[in-house]
Symmetry: C2
Subunit: 452 residues, 2 copies
């Protein structure tokens, strides 16, 4: 790719909306610097140019569940009944299906302003649980899907070793399960060799349910320095079972085992117990919440106020893919906390930032931190992935520069997305993605095979 | 307008998505019936055709606050500090400004799939509080704005008689305040004479703060049979003050005064007390909640589960205009309740409907009920306003007919809106609105005058 100097009517830099600036990107898509708008080689017009959003927690294939888990009327429906439907969809997908479903999810993300996705990948084996002859077949399908769309990928290769505490995997869980920690690590080591500027590899322990704490510690030690993710305390039941089985809650168990540090990201952290917020804060770990999924699944409202109060970096994920817009996740971070605490500006505690800036940081720099990449801001040397939003969109028109990012976070949706640039390449231009029909056609074909 | 038989690949009728049907509209835009798709005179292609959304509670001019109340970092920000900013914006608007700001809000609504708006209109006088020489000047500005856009309007003419219990209006409240109940009723009676098929008139008592209960009862009696709206119990403080001043909570006070019946709509009803849900249910009144505003302002989580459990009809409003999408309000109705109760399908209690259908009904038929119009469903004689959504939108593609309305409510946004038809006239066609630039230009000019 050639170097480019790109500009728009407004650019968001250092927490403020500025005009008369252009972003200079090197041939590798990294930021060289900011220069006067007059030097631009590509001017995108009446748009607001911002760092692309980072989706720090995704299970792409769950796009297949869209709408399908909302049709029941049973009032005993909950996370666990949802999980059974999810397992059934997962159980029907081969590697090519994973590629097609992931591509559709990544495409929808890109068209909503996401430039990097952290894919918490745990569909490792064939639908019946048999390992593929190529142990990386499913991971390669996810990597190919990201490449098809042009989105940046952090493949979070998830280790999954048992069904639950003391329980072997069920038939439906078998395709998620690694035969052993060594087999999982061998796969991770092989994946690391496939890293490129557009595809990095992180490691996850699925949860304290799915791995013994000794195995989690061993995995963390082996990959220390690399981003390390875990699902933690999403549902009260998993906390109770962990307490009953180990005498400790999940976060306490992980803290004692030395698993929490600045490279660790705890996903959800909804049902924390006394003292756990401070254990997380002391460790430097990131918390990634998934507001729309936690609403969709009835997980509940977590200690967002306390986490911000303790200066824990907060990232965001779309998780179950009911919604694929980081804008809606961003506003829900603050709006759910306002509902919970009956006040405004909950996430500004301890920083002096506006709630809009705190939410935008969660959508960008904090997500990049969780995925171990240097993106989400326009600083020399950083990854320069960006998105533009139409200043004439009905959601944004008439907002002055001071109010613009707040209007973007709290009031805009994917209709306002105009251009999406990843790795120096404009994958969405003027709101259009060139291969949308081709990707959607194969996705529709897949859904017909799966659901008739 | 000529009669038309309109079709699309899918039509939502009687709670189910159907194909091979067309909607026959008479020259008045009312439904004549459903006929085979082959008889269509206008086929809109690969789209889902549904009844247009009804926004049952709007303060259109508050679109001017977009983004501006989210920039503070003060942690003591709340409903009451927000209200000061709102009063200042209101205080700067003349009648022409009301028209321009309302038009922009109505335009954004239409482009998000809203076909009818219930405008809770309370900006009656000049900015300094002096009555206009034409007492209907401000109301005429709202009516003109709706006409400019082509959206259906229920003008909810609000009576406002004092600042608070025992308190005269403050300087900032003076332009909202009617000089007397008789003056307010004279204005309402004059407005009723302006009713057309596209503009109807309803009555509101602003709140138990802004009117003595005797005046509320007198107004209700005078306009019995007409939709009658009130803000009620949005904030704990107003409930406490009402208890202190009257010995009763707002709903109890209204119930005892005979103000609650099937034509009454209570807006918010967030902080209800024991027994109030059942008092509302017995009366047949509608509750209109405004989920995104109640989140934005930190109002809190109301008794949605209990209201659905008692079969109270629930409508939706965008209120403060931070968000102008009934789709997002619709999903928040259920998703906020899921967060609150840690289960799924909260709004399906007592009906056997899916949560998606319950939310869609709140967006449509229940909103129409609150505004006293026969819309929101495709039944012979009903108002046939409709919206189409792109079945190839990234949010909807691949969803089968059973999952489609759930995907629309829980996963789509305004990007998917294609056509909007009001009163037999297509005001949005293929996602485009012809006068968008003209309306936005005057809105931008207004914001520059107001905010410099």
């Amino acid at each position: 790719m050639a170097a480019v100097i790109v500009s728009a009517a407004r650019i968001y830099v250092d927490g403020a909306v500025k005009k008369d600036l252009a972003l200079e990107l090197g041939p590798d898509g990294r930021v060289k610097g900011l220069v006067p708008r007059g030097q631009a080689t590509l001017d995108l017009g009446e748009r607001l140019l911002v760092p692309g959003a980072v989706n720090a927690h995704s299970h792409a294939f769950q796009r297949l569940l869209r709408g399908r888990t909302q049709t029941a009327s049973r009032t005993d429906d909950n996370f666990w009944s949802w999980r059974e439907i999810m397992y059934r969809a997962a159980g029907a997908l081969d590697a090519e299906g994973i590629r097609v479903a992931s591509r559709q999810a990544f495409l929808e993300m890109a068209l909503s302003g996401v430039t990097t996705v952290g894919e918490f990948h745990y569909l490792h084996h064939a639908p019946d649980g048999t390992p593929y002859s190529d142990p990386l077949a499913a991971a390669r399908a996810v990597i190919a899907a990201a490449g098809d769309v042009g989105i940046r990928l952090c493949l979070i290769r998830t280790i999954y070793l048992r069904g639950d505490f003391d329980t072997p995997p069920s038939d439906l869980q078998r395709r998620f399960c690694d035969g052993s920690l060594e087999a999982a690590c061998a796969a991770i080591d092989a994946l690391v060799k496939l890293e490129t500027p557009m595809v990095t590899v992180a490691v996850a322990a699925h949860s304290v349910r799915a791995m013994a704490i000794g195995d989690i510690r061993a995995a963390k030690d082996r990959y220390r320095g690399r981003p390390f993710h875990l699902h933690v305390s999403e549902q009260p039941r998993e906390v109770e079972v962990c307490l009953a089985k180990t005498g400790k809650s999940p976060v306490a168990l992980l803290a004692q085992a030395g698993v929490l540090d600045k490279d660790t990201t705890l996903v959800h952290a909804t049902h924390l117990r006394d003292g756990e917020v401070h254990a997380i804060a002391r460790s430097g770990a990131t918390v990634c919440i998934c507001p729309s999924t936690e609403a969709d699944l009835g997980d509940g409202l977590g200690p967002v106020r306390e986490l911000f109060g303790a200066s824990v970096p907060m990232a965001l994920g779309t998780d179950g893919q009911t919604l694929l817009s980081l804008l809606e996740e961003g506003r829900r971070l603050e709006m759910h906390a306002r509902l919970q605490h009956q006040r405004r500006n909950v996430v500004t505690r301890n920083t002096g930032d506006s709630s809009a800036k705190a939410c935008f940081d969660a959508m960008t720099v904090n997500g990049a931190r969780a995925l171990g990449i240097d993106a989400g801001k326009f600083e020399p040397g950083s990854i320069g992935d960006f998105v533009t939003y139409d200043l004439r969109d009905p959601a944004l028109v008439g907002c002055d520069d001071d109010a613009l990012v707040a209007a973007l976070v709290f009031s805009a949706d994917s209709r306002a997305v105009r251009d999406v640039c990843v790795g120096g390449r404009l994958i969405v231009r003027d709101g259009k993605y060139t291969r949308i029909s081709e990707h959607s056609d194969s996705y529709v074909k897949l859904t017909r095979q799966l659901f008739g």
